[in-house]
């Protein structure tokens, strides 16, 4: 990736000095200092809970620092509220978007500061301004589209435009790539460069090393609330960054012992399905996964993988075809039946499907098993057994902040929420594990953890189907990679043969399989 720096070394845009933030006895930021020059892309790197979001929330006026000082463009400031931050030219794009779904792009951007002529909103003027901003930074946003109709990547651009429309010169992007596809990530990086070329300063909260390498000039590493170092991104390797972030040497490659795959566990034959609009999204898909292998399903979002997984986990009905699991055709069986017949899964959306956030960790750990002994008897829950089970898993899987299982799942960090699901599904010990984007939004330490357990399932001679938008993840874990395009498997390669370019071409439709038309 070509990169030119737009840093103006004479102008310091953000200077945070000796920032301390305490929540009760907990020190979230312990004397952290940060210097960001105008036109710089400065990444803040740290594991989940390291304190990077706290630091940025202080800059955006959401928290007040316990001690320390901030200057913006050389003048000392006390930022009391986001409103004041905006007045100072600081804008923040949060990880979870705050958009009104049925409104258009323009309406969302101007919300709260609509240009008026007399008493009516001057929507024409607003539309023109939005279009102008969008084109200036190469965002190609349709100002008239409704939010609910556009992709997540586009929604993010709307959020960025919202901030720019409010006159921001310093943009804070919180985990901006966590829900984007690889293409969208590349486009976002281009947009970031357009922003800095125009003199804007960008602060990037992230734990993804590859993107830091691609997008950032400088990187400040925070670990457990403490300042570790600020480095020149060009001068360090991804591996060094990871080690600084975690505080120990990080293993990227997962150890896999060679296994000869065994019998076929799941055999999907000629599967057809439609989405909610009635459009055919699976057009005769065939897929086999055997014991002792990880099959990675690669593909650009929207090519049928979501529907496939939903059918395999009992959340959606297919139209025709067969889903043979250990000899039984289980097409259109419900989640309960599929589970009983050997399917466990790590769902794509852990907060929507994976967990009941208001339930305790212990209750979540028995979501499929609460009706079985020892967790209940004659319809009465056995809380001792449920909580003992939880205590064991919390310990074994190092689920942090769970208080032995009593804490509500929603109060844990994303990585630890994912650990609850992994603990549950791995302990269920089923013959097939379907893992969908299992490391989305997780930091390096947690990713390592998840990968280890996925490979362990394979090593225990189980079948694993891995569906992921992270090509790196698919390539490093899979024994075989199947590429899905337009509702069909268009190509397959063995894990060793995998190559990003070849896979990319297949994902765009140029597979190595004969087309079946």
């Amino acid at each position: 990736m070509e990169k030119t720096s737009h840093i103006d070394p004479n102008v310091v845009a953000v200077q945070m000095t000796d920032i301390v933030k305490k929540f009760g006895n907990f020190v979230a930021n312990d004397h952290i200092s940060l210097t960001v020059h105008k036109g710089e892309v400065h990444a803040i790197l740290g594991e989940n809970g390291a304190g990077k979001s706290t630091l940025m929330n202080i800059l955006y006026g959401l928290y007040k620092p316990t001690s320390g000082s901030i200057s913006i463009f050389g003048s000392p400031v006390h930022i009391e509220s986001p409103r004041q931050a905006i007045e100072l030219g600081i804008g923040m794009v949060h990880q979870h978007f705050m958009l009104v779904e049925p409104f258009t792009v323009t309406e969302n951007i101007i919300l709260g500061m609509e240009p008026t002529n007399g008493i009516t909103v001057d929507i024409k003027k607003a539309r023109r301004q939005v279009l102008e901003l969008s084109e200036r930074y190469g965002m190609h946003v349709d100002p008239d589209a409704k939010i609910e109709d556009i992709s997540v990547g586009m929604q993010q651009r709307v959020e960025i435009l919202k901030v720019l429309y409010r006159g921001a010169n310093i943009l804070i992007l919180d985990e901006p790539t966590s829900s984007l596809t690889p293409q969208e990530i590349e486009e976002l990086i281009d947009i970031i460069h357009n922003l800095t070329a125009d003199g804007k300063t960008v602060l990037l909260i992230t734990h993804k090393l590859k993107e830091i390498k691609a997008a950032a000039d400088k990187c400040t590493i925070i670990r457990q609330g403490k300042y570790i170092d600020t480095v020149d991104v060009q001068a360090v390797s991804e591996h060094e960054l990871a080690s600084m972030m975690v505080g120990r040497d990080v293993q990227f490659k997962v150890d896999k012992k060679p296994i000869e795959p065994g019998e076929v566990i799941i055999d999907v034959q000629d599967l057809h399905a439609r989405d909610y609009r009635g459009v055919e999204v699976l057009k005769g898909l065939n897929l086999k996964v055997r014991r002792g292998e990880i099959v990675g399903l690669a593909g650009v979002d929207g090519n049928g993988q979501t529907e496939l997984v939903e059918i395999l986990t009992g959340l959606r009905k297919g139209e025709s075809g067969k889903v043979i699991i250990e000899g039984k055709d289980l097409l259109n069986a419900d989640a309960h039946k599929l589970f009983d017949n050997g399917v466990s899964s790590i769902p794509a959306d852990r907060q929507k499907h994976g967990l009941v956030l208001d339930y305790s960790v212990a209750y979540n750990l028995v979501l499929q098993n609460y009706e079985r002994p020892p967790f209940s008897k004659h319809g009465i829950l056995k809380k001792d057994a449920i909580f003992q089970h939880a205590a064991e898993l919390v310990d074994k899987f190092d689920i942090r902040g769970a208080d032995g299982g009593i804490k509500e799942a929603g109060k844990l960090s994303g990585g630890n929420q994912q650990k609850i699901i992994i603990a549950r599904e791995v302990t269920n010990d089923k013959d097939l594990l379907i893992a969908v984007n299992p490391t989305r939004g997780l930091d390096v330490g947690a990713i390592e953890f998840v990968h280890r357990y996925i490979v362990e399932q394979r090593n225990k001679n189980k079948a694993v189907l891995l569906v992921s938008f992270e090509l790196d993840e698919i390539m490093s874990l899979s024994d075989r990679i199947e590429v899905i395009h337009n509702g069909r498997i268009v190509g397959s390669v063995t894990g060793e043969q995998a190559d990003e370019k070849v896979l990319g071409l297949m994902m765009a439709g140029g597979g190595n399989h004969e087309t079946q038309e």
Binding site: D334, S376, G379, L381
Partner: protein, 372 residues
Amino acid sequence: MKHKNNQNNETTQNIVKNSTNNLLQQNALYTIIAIFFGFVVGGIFLWSAGFSPFEAYMKLFSSVFSRPKYLIWSVIYATPLIFTGLSVAFSYKMGVFNIGAEGQFVVGSLAALCVGILVDLPPLLHVTLCILAAFAAGMIWSFLVAVLRVRFGINEVLSFIMFNWIAFYLSNYIVNTESIHKAGGGEASKDIRESARILLPQSVQNILKNDKANYGIFLAIIAAVAIWFILTKTTLGYRVLAVGLNPHAARYGGINSNRTMYIAMSLSGALAALGGAVQLMGNSMRISQFAGQEGYGFQGITVALIASSHPIGCIFAGLFYGAMKYGGSKLNLIDAPTEVIDIIMGTIVLFIAISHVFRYLITKRLQKKEGK
């Protein structure tokens, strides 16, 4: 030494802070604030209508607490409300708003009435049969609505409201049929047989100086404890709460949400119907022809709201509402309008509904203080 002292101080401070924080998170605190504001607003209305709020509230208070007989009356008023409150609270745990408790209450008392008049059985057996009939009637009434929702996707609020009116006219129809209607005119049914009544023994009534003192409150407490037990200790409770909290995860986890919906809505209907049966068998003994809906079901919504949908809380919220209803009925003795009770209860509901605003304001203020 000094250092240690400081540390100790800090820990005590933290404990104090934590317990205040806990208190601020409690729903009970905001309920009490809401009740306080309810009385303030009621007082303003009384005052502007030319009555002394102080005098009226004294009357309200003395009407409930001055004699055991009055207290018993409050309990009798509270009993059906505890049932309808439980009904609403239980269905709410599953994410269903049971605005149909009114209709379920009516069919429950209607079923108990028919069995109580038409069947002749020894006392205990007769009471049991009446209660079972009411239970079944309420279940079916609510189950039908559940079917409409699950099978045909009809919003349950609409069906519930229509089923309320069907129950209303069904009751008026049955009350006027020959075998049920009281001989020789009047606008009411016959009284149920002695054997179907749940009054306390004469000797106890004499002590309490109240001839309508009945077993109903015990049934209500048993029902509340049973619902609490179901919700917290059983697999059914696990399912109901999981469906209510996150239907997607429940379905993903293999919980059959339709079946859970059928069971839970039926049970919710049965609870409201039991309220109707108990009201009939312990207090009214007959059903009059309705001119308008009686409101026990709707008042149950208020009870559930005050109780934050906690089953045991419903007992206390029901007693509170019952006392207000009974005490309020005495307000006309000093010429003050009884309707002020509705204003107070309405205000309480309003303030509970916006309690998150108070929570926000209070926590924010405290945070600011801490910041300084």
